[in-house]
């Protein structure tokens, strides 16, 4: 089985989408080949293959980038706009939240904004407080947007293709520190449907529900604990909004216990929404309250020990799983 990085699979997805559909456009800072094909190379080769009119490097103007993408989308194009880092989406949030998300609704369905925002983020590489945040909960909290956060290169390919196909605005979140990690190569042309979770491990005792790089680590943990007789079910949501309610509820009804985990701060996070859903719809199945694990409620620090301490750890997940597994009905 051939192995590829996220950089390669996302590049492949953009390439294939541009080849399949002339309406697909790419824009953002440094995305053209003359500027290096993206700061980590995700858009490498695209301007060479499809020309500088469809693959446009932009000035450092996040509002203008998003506005150009929205206007082109209103006319039926399928722009993929890169906002280099997720923290920089705050600079474009008027365009994303007040316009991309709402124009379909506010126009009574006359217009639509089929665009994709590609953005990278993630702590662990000493980028400090303004270059590391996971803000997916902000966008998931905004009606009109969809949010995806892939955990494998193959999912990244399939989700990118699905986002580009989708008639609504999608926020595609890439985990910067994991971009050069390898995984199974995607099947070209494949799609990962939005809103569909993947069951990474099947198990009986405790469900762990999350997404992104940490859920892959949780799957490794499941393999280790299985040897000790603790049976974990691991659910990778893949799409944060709309998330796969059925998969979550089916799993919890089976195991009777759940831990939700993500790298964003725990407070007011996506995990809180999932936890609430479980309590509301599967309360009778629960042996114990749902446990939420996320980053500490603080800006991401620079100093290595502090940065590590701010992140959710696998030890916390393991402790929660062991506790819940020990609770009998």
């Amino acid at each position: 089985m051939s192995q590829v990085t996220f950089v390669q699979s996302i590049n492949q997805a953009l390439h294939d989408a541009m080849e399949d559909d002339a309406r697909v456009l790419v824009l953002g800072e440094d995305v053209g080949d003359a500027e290096g094909g993206g700061v980590v190379g995700i858009t490498k080769g695209l301007s060479q293959a499809f020309g500088c009119e469809r693959v446009k490097s932009t000035p450092i103007s996040e509002q203008a980038i998003m506005g150009a993408a929205i206007g082109a989308a209103l006319k039926g194009f399928r722009p993929v706009a890169e906002i280099m880092l997720m923290n920089f989406t705050t600079v474009a949030s008027d365009m994303i939240v007040n316009h991309a998300a709402k124009l379909r609704f506010m126009s009574g369905g006359q217009t639509s904004v089929p665009l994709v925002v590609r953005t990278m983020t993630g702590a662990g590489v000493s980028n400090g407080g303004q270059h590391s945040d996971y803000l997916e909960a902000w966008y998931a909290h905004t009606a009109g947007l969809k949010v995806v956060l892939p955990s494998t290169p193959a999912d990244a390919y399939g989700l990118m293709r699905a986002c580009i196909d989708d008639p609504d605005p999608c926020i595609f979140v890439e985990t910067l520190p994991a971009l050069f990690n390898k995984g199974e190569a995607p099947v070209r042309g494949s799609r990962v449907p939005l809103g569909k979770a993947a069951v990474l491990r099947e198990g009986r005792d405790v469900s762990v529900i999350g997404y992104g790089r940490i859920i892959q680590s949780v799957a490794q943990l499941a393999d280790r604990l299985a040897g000790e007789g603790v049976s974990m079910e691991v659910i990778d949501l893949r799409t944060v909004s709309p998330f796969d309610k059925e998969a979550v509820l089916a799993s919890v009804r089976k195991t009777g216990a759940a831990v939700v985990v993500h790298e964003a701060v725990r407070e007011f996070g996506v995990g809180s929404e999932i936890s609430s859903l479980i309590h509301e719809e599967a309360f009778a199945a629960l042996r114990a309250p749902v446990r939420r694990i996320g980053a500490k409620f603080a800006p991401v620090p620079f100093s290595k020990p502090l940065e590590t301490a701010s992140l959710p750890s696998l030890d916390e997940v393991e402790a929660a799983v062991r506790e819940l597994a020990a609770v009998t009905a």
Binding site: L25, E53, R54, K56, T58, P59, S61, E62, Q63, A64, M66, G67, A68, A69, I70, G71, A72, A73, L74, K75, G76, F77, P79, D94, M95, N98, H99, L103, R104, F105, M106, S107, G108, G109, Q110, T111, S112, A143, G144, K146, P167, D168, P242, K245
Partner: protein
């Protein structure tokens, strides 16, 4: 000075007659309680979109702002659908989901109306980029106010449009106030048009209450845009007669300022000029006005006779396919 045909002059007058009377009806309807909505009256600023729109085609697009009901109407947005929208009816342009600040009617090129100051411009760039990619010579007009020239998006948009040679008209209606702040109290530069120089594009300040001046500036900018020569910034000097928002007490204005401006109302001025210069007879203009009045009355009847949208509409049009919640 380019010659303007009588037909074009009358088409501008017809739009102005519609816009002026429509504003009067909107204000009267709010006063009587028939319409319940925030309203940012455009009365006094009609020359700008009436003249520009008379030069535009259906496939040209606009992005406008909360004060831009006149921009939408001048571009061709149907009056009856507009009134139904203002009334929150299911037959409104936006099924009652947008309201006065979000009028949208793509068939006539009214693509976006935004309530966020400065946000018409970045999206106008995208519409213009799309036209360019399609190989069409359609142009996009971004309407905004003087206050919006102090928002970052204005500067980002001018730079990008100039860099990419986008077919955009940036039309700033400088009505001398943003909310209650005088232009000079909020803007360091003495003319918005001068900002164009910073972005290597032509910038012109014109009397936005003068049809001939407005026509000359708009025609040149549209020609430039259609020819692929890029954007133009037009600063159209004007005044809003009814303050920032309906109910405004005008306390922040200079003594007698408003009365003086209203005495120079561009509507009767243009009307008299048309007759004096022999472009139209009094009867002809009166007939146009009566037609527009009837259109508006019919629109109001249409709106009032229409049903409100059912509550189930809250969850439609959020996404193409309603999300299971």
């Amino acid at each position: 000075m380019t010659q303007i045909s009588d037909d074009l002059l009358l088409s501008i007058f017809e739009k102005m007659a519609l816009l002026k009377q429509n504003d009067e009806k909107m204000r009267a309807s709010i006063s009587s309680g028939r319409l319940v909505m925030p309203y940012y009256s455009y009365r006094g600023q009609e020359v700008i979109p009436a003249t520009i729109s008379a030069l535009l085609r259906d496939d040209d697009t606009i992005c406008t702002i909360y004060r831009g009901t006149h921009d939408a109407l001048a571009k061709g947005c149907p009056v009856d659908r507009l009134w139904a929208e203002l009334g929150g009816r299911a037959t409104g342009t936006c099924k009652g989901k947008g309201g006065p600040m979000h009028i949208t009617h793509p068939e006539t090129g009214v693509m976006v109306t935004t309530g966020i100051v400065g946000s018409s411009m970045p999206i106008a760039n995208g519409l213009a980029w799309a036209a360019k990619l399609e190989g069409s010579d359609a142009v996009t007009v971004a309407y905004f106010g003087d206050g919006a020239s102090n928002i970052g998006a204005f500067h980002e948009s001018l730079n990008l449009a100039s860099l990419w040679k986008l077919p955009v008209l940036f039309v700033c209606s400088n009505n001398l106030y943003s909310e209650h702040t005088r232009f000079a109290a909020g803007t360091a530069i003495d003319s918005v048009a001068k900002s164009a120089a910073a972005y290597s594009m032509p910038g012109v300040r014109v009397d936005g209450n003068d049809v001939l001046a407005m026509h000359a500036a708009a025609a040149e900018a549209i020609d430039r845009a259609r020819a692929g020569e890029g954007p133009t910034l037009i600063e159209a000097m004007t005044f809003r007669f009814h303050g920032h928002v309906f109910g405004d007490d005008d306390a922040y204005m200079g003594e007698g300022e408003k009365a003086e401006r209203m005495a120079a109302d561009p509507y009767p001025r243009f009307r008299a000029w048309l007759i004096d210069e022999g472009h139209a007879s009094e009867d002809r203009l009166a007939a146009i006005e009566a037609e527009q009045a009837e259109r508006i009355e019919a629109a109001i009847r249409f709106a009032l006779d229409s049903e409100f949208p059912p509550a189930s509409e809250v969850l439609t049009d959020v996404y193409e396919q309603e999300m299971a919640r």
